[in-house]
């Protein structure tokens, strides 16, 4: 019988419930600790000998192509439509107030601050977070991770570091692109149904946007990139034996990443809100 089970057997339901909460909290903390350790270790091996720098860079560029460049078409499509949707929804309310000219600003701010980074992160989770977990999980099952170790190669430095470097660079790039596409989506509605001229929409967007709106999104996205990589790789490394556990790690990589990204987003938004309540 495990300690928590024995507590449950002997004590009242309230205490048992508290013990359950305690054990759950402990698990969550252990998981977050594991993520932090993984990120720390792979950051540490970013600083490598010049001999190895060339090949690490090569691997990072390869990862950046897989995780970043190939995500562009789907991110383009999704954020463009999200831009159209925001514009439509906004126009629905603003038209009644006779404030149609505010649509451009509404789209610009909600895309750059929130939806651009969020949509990009979710696409990257679906494409790359899951594949990190599957790749590393399969390598664990086939003893490839052990083979790396016996060749005196650190699986973290070999597998995680290039992915992390690629994501830290590519996430902000993807978010910039996704911001741009979202605004284009808004513009499509603005020009065809909102009475804007293309130039007018552009000027309205620039007037509504502060540099801060874009930079906060970019900073957030970098953190998202780190979290998605860490969760994907961590889930991969903690895969058990057998093919079905690879599937399980892939699923939890996606679910946990989405949850963490939303929580971090919440924290950031709250922080910005409290820092400058007026804005």
């Amino acid at each position: 019988m495990s300690p928590t089970e024995s507590i449950r057997a002997r004590t009242s339901p309230v205490v048992a419930a508290l013990a359950g909460v305690g054990a759950g909290t402990e698990q969550v903390l252990a998981y977050l600790g594991g993520l932090a350790e993984l990120v720390g270790r792979s950051m540490a091996s970013l600083v490598v000998s010049p001999l190895k720098r060339g090949r690490s860079l090569q691997r990072a560029v390869h990862q950046a192509t897989l995780a970043g460049v190939r995500a562009i078409p789907i991110i383009t499509l999704i954020t463009f439509f999200v831009g159209v949707i925001i514009a439509l929804q906004g126009a629905y309310g603003l038209r009644r107030l006779g404030a149609m000219q505010l649509v451009a600003g509404l789209v610009a701010i909600s895309i750059t601050r929130e939806l651009g980074p969020l949509v990009a992160a979710i696409v990257v989770i679906g494409r790359s977070g899951s594949s990190f977990a599957a790749e590393i999980g399969a390598m664990r099952v086939t003893e490839e991770l052990d083979a790396l170790k016996t060749m005196a190669l650190d699986p973290v430095a070999f597998l995680v570091t290039p992915k992390l470097a690629a994501m830290i660079v590519m996430m902000p790039c993807l978010v910039m692109w996704s911001d741009l596409m979202g605004v284009m989506g808004g513009a499509l509605f603005g020009v065809t149904g909102g009475g804007f001229t293309p130039g007018g929409y552009f000027i309205a967007t620039c007037e509504a946007l502060a540099v801060r709106d874009v930079t906060t999104g970019l900073v957030k996205s970098m953190v998202f990139g780190i979290v998605v990589t860490a969760v994907g790789c961590y889930e991969g490394f903690s895969t058990g034996a057998g093919a079905e556990s690879v599937g399980r790690s892939t699923t939890s990589a996606v679910v946990v990443s989405i949850l963490l990204v939303v929580l971090i987003d919440l924290a950031f938004t709250f922080l910005f809100y409290s820092a400058r309540p007026g804005l």
Partner: protein, 263 residues
């Protein structure tokens, strides 16, 4: 007598609560080929994994080149691992790379040889295992036996001082299997490597071994030179060597109990 390059003292290894190795004591001396024999699931692969530090002992110790694997720093462990080669039972080639890249990997990472030199070395290693011309294949395009041979080539890449083979000739045709035996004998003669081989092939075991270890259910059942083993009168050893199946009819009650246990 030369100093042992590997020695284990009371080595115990557990997976979870289940102990798989129950106190193994043996040593491998410099330039010696030790063959480990034993039934399926008796813990041979686990022993190899413990010898290279992939499994943490739950008791006892493993000493390689005078370093206790459980108590050394990561740097020391890496230094030891650069001098060993292990060919895994399932090959464990990196699926994201070609066969040639797999073999080149340790050379690229741990030596400052020119790429052209590495390319030549890769070809030599592939030639040694009869896989010339397959360097651009991906591991998924190889048959099981070919994967195994490619894994042997990768284990040889760094010209290690100690070599571990987990069932190198299982799944190979007799000609290939004989080729692997010859390769092992050559490595011993030419480079005086210390070699540990896990195998099920009795003929090959007697051919290459300087010393043999028989493992049964996680304990050493017999150990000695091929001659000593061949002449052993221990019942379980004889059963293994003479290929006698476990008799099922000797104790009907026990046998019945085995199936009904816990019900």
């Amino acid at each position: 007598m030369t100093k042992p390059v590997i020695s284990t003292h009371g080595l115990r290894v557990s997976y979870g609560d289940r102990e798989v190795l129950h106190g193994i004591d043996f040593e491998v001396r410099h330039g010696e080929t030790v063959v480990i024999l034993g039934g399926s699931g008796s813990g041979k692969s686990t022993l190899l994994r413990a010898l290279v530090g992939l499994e943490q002992p739950s008791g006892g110790e493993v000493v390689v080149n005078n370093t206790d694997l459980a108590r050394c720093t990561a740097k020391q462990l890496d230094a030891i691992r650069k001098k060993i080669g292990l060919s895994f039972q399932g090959g464990a080639l990196l699926g994201s790379m070609t066969v040639g890249e797999n073999i080149a990997l340790p050379l690229l990472e741990h030596s400052d040889l020119a790429p052209s030199t590495i390319e030549v070395m890769v070809r030599i290693k592939l030639e040694q295992v009869g896989l010339s011309g397959f360097e651009h294949f991906s591991p998924s395009q190889l048959s099981g036996g070919m994967k195994k041979r490619a894994a042997i080539a990768r284990a040889l890449a760094m010209d290690p001082e100690i070599l571990f083979f987990d069932e190198p000739s299982a799944g190979l045709d007799p000609i290939m299997a004989a080729g692997i035996d010859e390769l092992i004998l050559n490595l011993k003669k030419a480079y005086s490597m210390s070699i540990v081989v896990v195998t099920h092939e009795l003929a090959s075991a007697f051919l290459i071994a300087d010393r043999m270890i028989l493992i049964d259910h996680g304990s050493i059942m017999a150990m000695g030179s091929p001659n000593e083993i061949r002449q052993s009168s221990q019942a379980r050893v004889r059963q293994f060597l003479d290929r006698v199946a476990d008799s099922t009819a000797d104790d009907d009650v026990d046998h019945l109990r085995m199936f009904t246990e816990g019900i």
